[in-house]
C-alpha cells in the first residue's frame, strides 16, 4: 500500500443484522408479534450467500455468526487499519425483498433504529444510510424524513434491481425528498429478485448473479438519465455502491452515441449522458474491476475524464482485495487523496456538519 491517506472516508461498509430476532426491540408490537407467530425466516438476501467467499474476506470472517455483525471486529478490521475517520454503514438486510408494503416499511424503520442504537450510538466514526421500502415510495419518503432529523444519516439506500427501472416516476417521491434534504441516493448491488438478474433469464451460478450486477448498474444509470431524474432534481447526487467502476466509460460512449441519434425520444435530456454522470453521479471504489497492469489503469482514468467520480470504500466485510490494498496500485498522483477525502466530503455534504 503506497497511496492510502489516513483520515479517509469509507463510503461502503456492511454491518449485518445478526438475526431477525435482533430487530424485535425495534418493531412495533403488531409486527413483533407476527414475526414470532409466523415463524418468520431470516431476511438475508440470495445476493450474498453467507458462506460464499465473496461475502467475507477470509481474515474478516468470524468463527461464528454473520460476517460484519460485530462492532469490535469492525473497528479492528475496517476502521483502525485504514486510519478511517468516517465510515458509512449500508445495511443489506432483505427489506426490499418483502412483498407487503407495510411490512417492508416496518422493517425498514426497525433496521434504521437498530443501526442507530447498536452502531452509531456506540461508535462515533460511523454514519449510516437510510434503508427505505421502495415498494411504496410515499412510505419511503416518510422514512427518509423521519431519519433525516439525525445528521448521522447521510444517504438514502436502495438496491440496483427492484420492481421497475429506478428512473421511473414511481420512485420520484424518494428522489424529491432526498434532494430537498441534501441526501445522496446510494444505489447498492443487490436485487429484490422481482425479475431475472440477467436480461436473458435466470442464471445457473452465483458467480453469474454477482457478475451481472454490473450490467444492472448500467441499465439503472441509463434509466435515471433517460427518464429525466437529473433534469427534475438537478441537485440530486446518485452514488453507485459496489457497482464496479471500469464499465462506466464504454457504457457512456454507447449511451451518448445513441442519445445523439435518438434524443427526440427523450428531449428533456439536454446534455450528453457522460456530462450528467460527471456532475450528478459518483461510484464507490470497490470492487474496482481494474485491468491487470498499471499502464492500462492509467488509460481507464483517462477515459473517465474526471477525478471527482470515485469515493473510497473497503466494502467490508466483502472480499474485494487483500491486506490494505483498497486503492488500486499505480493510481495517478494526488488522486488517492481526492478519492479518500475530498470527493466523499463533497458528495456527503452532511458529513461537514459532524466532521471538523
Amino acid at each position: 500500500m503506497t497511496t492510502t491517506e489516513t483520515g479517509g472516508i469509507d463510503c461502503d461498509i456492511h454491518p449485518a443484522v445478526p438475526s431477525l430476532k435482533s430487530l424485535l426491540p425495534y418493531l412495533p408490537r403488531h409486527w413483533a408479534d407476527l414475526l414470532v407467530q409466523r415463524g418468520m425466516h431470516e431476511l438475508d438476501s440470495a445476493a450474498y450467500p453467507i458462506n460464499s467467499p465473496l461475502t467475507a474476506r477470509p481474515d474478516w470472517r468470524p468463527d461464528a455468526g454473520k460476517p460484519g455483525a460485530d462492532l469490535a471486529r469492525l473497528r479492528e478490521d475496517a476502521l483502525d487499519p485504514f486510519g478511517t475517520r468516517i465510515a458509512i454503514c449500508n445495511c443489506l438486510y432483505g427489506v426490499q425483498l418483502l412483498f407487503s408494503e407495510d411490512m417492508a416499511a416496518a422493517y425498514a424503520r426497525a433496521v434504521n433504529d437498530w443501526v442507530r442504537a447498536e452502531w452509531l450510538d456506540r461508535e462515533p466514526r460511523l454514519r449510516a444510510s437510510i434503508v427505505v421500502p421502495p415498494q411504496n415510495p410515499h412510505l419511503a419518503a416518510e422514512e427518509i424524513e423521519r431519519c433525516a432529523a439525525d445528521p448521522r444519516f447521510v444517504q438514502v439506500l436502495m438496491l440496483v434491481m427492484d420492481e421497475m427501472p429506478l428512473g421511473r416516476r414511481h420512485y420520484w417521491p424518494i428522489y424529491e425528498t432526498a434532494a430537498r434534504l441534501g441526501l445522496p441516493v446510494g444505489i447498492h448491488a443487490g436485487s429484490a429478485y422481482r425479475h431475472p438478474v440477467t436480461t436473458v433469464g435466470w442464471p445457473t451460478y452465483y458467480t453469474e448473479d454477482y457478475a451481472a450486477q454490473a450490467t444492472a448498474f448500467q441499465s439503472q444509470l441509463m434509466s435515471l438519465i433517460c427518464e429525466g431524474v437529473f433534469n427534475k432534481f438537478p441537485d440530486l447526487t446518485v452514488v453507485l455502491l459496489e457497482s464496479g467502476v471500469t464499465w462506466l466509460p464504454a457504457h457512456m460512449w454507447r449511451l451518448s452515441k445513441y442519445w445523439r441519434g435518438l434524443r427526440m425520444e427523450i428531449p428533456w435530456v439536454d446534455r450528453s449522458p457522460f456530462d450528467i454522470v460527471r456532475s450528478n453521479v459518483r461510484l464507490s471504489l470497490q470492487p474496482f474491476d481494474g485491468p491487470p497492469d498499471a499502464a492500462q489503469l492509467e488509460r481507464i482514468f483517462e477515459h473517465l475524464q474526471s477525478d471527482e467520480l470515485l469515493l473510497f470504500s473497503t466494502d467490508y466485510p466483502h472480499w474485494q482485495f487483500d491486506g490494505l490494498d483498497a486503492i488500486p496500485p499505480g493510481l495517478p498522483s494526488g488522486l488517492a487523496r481526492k478519492i479518500m477525502i475530498d470527493n466523499p466530503l463533497r458528495t456527503y455534504t452532511r458529513l461537514k456538519e459532524t466532521v471538523t
Partner: protein, 373 residues
C-alpha cells in the same frame, strides 16, 4: 446516422480501387408478406395468417418498443419500388456493395424469422423457409453475399436438425441466434446446437434483439427505445457470462462465438471483472480450467457497428488493443438507421495491416472466405 447527405454514388470502377470491405451485418428483408409462401406448407401459411406468430410480446406484430424510423431504416434505403429496405438485391448492390467495394457481405435475417414463435412447429418451418428464401433471393444471385443459417434454437432438436440439414452448403458461413433468448445462452439445453455448429465448421453468431420474454433490464421494463437499444450490450454481457460460466468453450473447443450489433467496449471491463470474481468463486465452477479472459480471447469475435464513439475518438484504440485487433469484424448494419459508413466509422489513425484486418481480413479468416489481394 439516419439520413445520408453525402454523395456516395461512386462508380464501380472507382470503387474497385478502394480497400476491400467485409460487412458482417446486412439485413435482408421481404418484399411482401408472401415471400416465404413458396417454401411453406399451406397449413403454416394459414396458421400464420389466422393466428399470427405468437411471440413473447404483447403487440401482434412489430417491435415492443417503436423504432425511431419506419422499418428502423435509413430513409434513403427504400428501393424505387417502395418495398422494404433490404428487400431489393439490385438496389442493395447499387447503394451498398458496389460503392463501398464490399467483397463479403454477411446476411443476418433477423426479425420475423420464426426463431421466437411460441408454436415451435410453425417456427421451425418458418426458419427452414427463411433459409431457402435467403439462398433463392440473395446468395444464389450474388457471390459477394453469404447467409447466416437461421436456427430455431429454442427447440434444441429442431435447431440441431436445421444445422445438419444445411451442413456443408457454401451459401451459409455461420449460424445465427438472437441474444434475448428464453434462457441464458450458456444453458445446457443449447449445447447440442453449439456442438452441431462446431461439427459443421460454422461460427455461432448471436445478433442483438430477440423475444425471450424477459425485461430488458434486471429491474423490469424500460420505458424507451433508446434503453432497449443500448440494453443489447447488457443482454450480450449476460449471455457471455452464462456461456463462460457454464463452460461452453471448455466443453466445445471448436466453438466460435460472434457477437453482432451489441457494441464491444463493454468486453474488456467484463473480462477483468470475471477474472477476479472467478478466482474468488471458482469452487462453484470446477469445470472451468482457464481464466474467463482466456476463453474470451480464444473464442469470441465482435462486430463493430454501432461503433463506440468516445470523445476523444482515440480512446477507442485502447479498447481495440484490449479486445484484440484480430477479433474485430467491421459491419454497417445496412439498411438500418444507425448504419456505420465504412468511410466514417473508424475516425482514428490506424496502420495499414490493422486497417485491412479490421475491414476485411478478420472476417475472411473467420468465415473461411478467400482473402482479396
Amino acid at each position: 446516422m439516419n439520413v445520408q447527405v453525402r454523395d456516395t454514388r461512386t462508380t464501380r470502377s472507382e470503387a474497385a480501387s478502394r480497400l476491400a470491405i467485409a460487412d458482417c451485418d446486412i439485413h435482408p428483408a421481404h418484399k411482401s408478406k408472401r415471400d416465404l409462401d413458396p417454401y411453406l406448407e399451406q397449413r403454416w401459411i394459414d396458421e400464420l395468417r389466422t393466428f399470427g406468430p405468437r411471440r413473447r410480446v404483447g403487440v401482434q406484430s412489430g417491435p415492443a418498443y417503436p423504432k425511431s424510423q419506419p422499418n428502423a431504416a435509413r430513409r434513403d434505403a427504400f428501393p424505387e419500388d417502395g418495398n422494404a429496405p433490404g428487400s431489393d438485391l439490385d438496389f442493395m448492390r447499387r447503394q451498398l456493395l458496389d460503392p463501398y467495394n464490399i467483397q463479403l457481405g454477411v446476411l443476418n435475417a433477423t426479425g420475423e424469422n420464426g426463431q421466437h414463435f411460441q408454436n415451435r412447429d410453425l417456427g421451425n418451418a418458418h426458419c427452414r423457409a427463411t433459409n431457402h428464401w435467403q439462398i433463392e433471393t440473395f446468395t444464389k444471385n450474388e457471390p459477394r453475399l453469404k447467409a447466416s443459417l437461421v436456427v430455431p434454437y429454442e427447440d434444441t432438436q429442431a435447431g440441431v436438425a436445421e444445422i445438419e440439414h444445411w451442413a456443408g452448403d457454401p451459401n451459409f458461413v455461420q449460424i445465427i441466434l438472437q441474444s434475448r433468448s428464453a434462457d441464458p445462452l450458456g444453458n445446457r439445453r443449447y449445447w447440442p446446437i453449439y456442438e452441431a455448429a462446431a461439427a459443421a465448421g460454422l461460427p455461432v453468431g448471436v445478433h442483438a434483439f430477440g423475444f425471450g420474454g424477459h425485461p430488458p433490464t434486471g429491474s423490469g421494463w424500460a420505458s424507451y427505445y433508446i434503453e432497449d437499444m443500448v440494453g443489447h450490450a447488457q443482454s450480450c454481457q449476460g449471455l457471455l457470462i452464462s456461456m463462460l460460466m457454464e463452460g461452453v468453450f471448455e466443453r466445445i473447443p471448436k466453438m466460435k462465438l460472434v457477437l453482432i450489433e451489441a457494441g464491444f467496449g463493454w468486453l474488456p471491463p467484463l473480462a477483468w471483472r470475471l477474472d477476479k470474481l472467478w478466482k474468488r468463486l471458482r469452487a462453484e465452477t470446477p469445470h472451468l480450467k482457464r481464466l474467463p479472459s482466456e476463453y474470451i480471447r480464444d473464442h469470441v469475435w465482435l462486430t463493430t457497428q454501432p461503433m463506440e464513439e468516445p470523445e476523444p475518438r482515440e480512446h477507442v484504440l485502447d479498447t481495440f488493443d484490449w479486445v484484440g485487433w484480430d477479433r474485430m469484424l467491421f459491419a454497417t448494419d445496412y439498411p438500418h438507421w444507425d448504419f456505420d459508413d465504412p468511410d466514417q466509422a473508424l475516425q482514428v489513425r490506424v496502420d495499414e495491416p490493422r486497417r485491412r484486418a479490421f475491414f476485411y481480413g478478420n472476417a475472411a479468416a473467420l468465415y473461411g472466405v478467400a482473402a482479396v489481394a
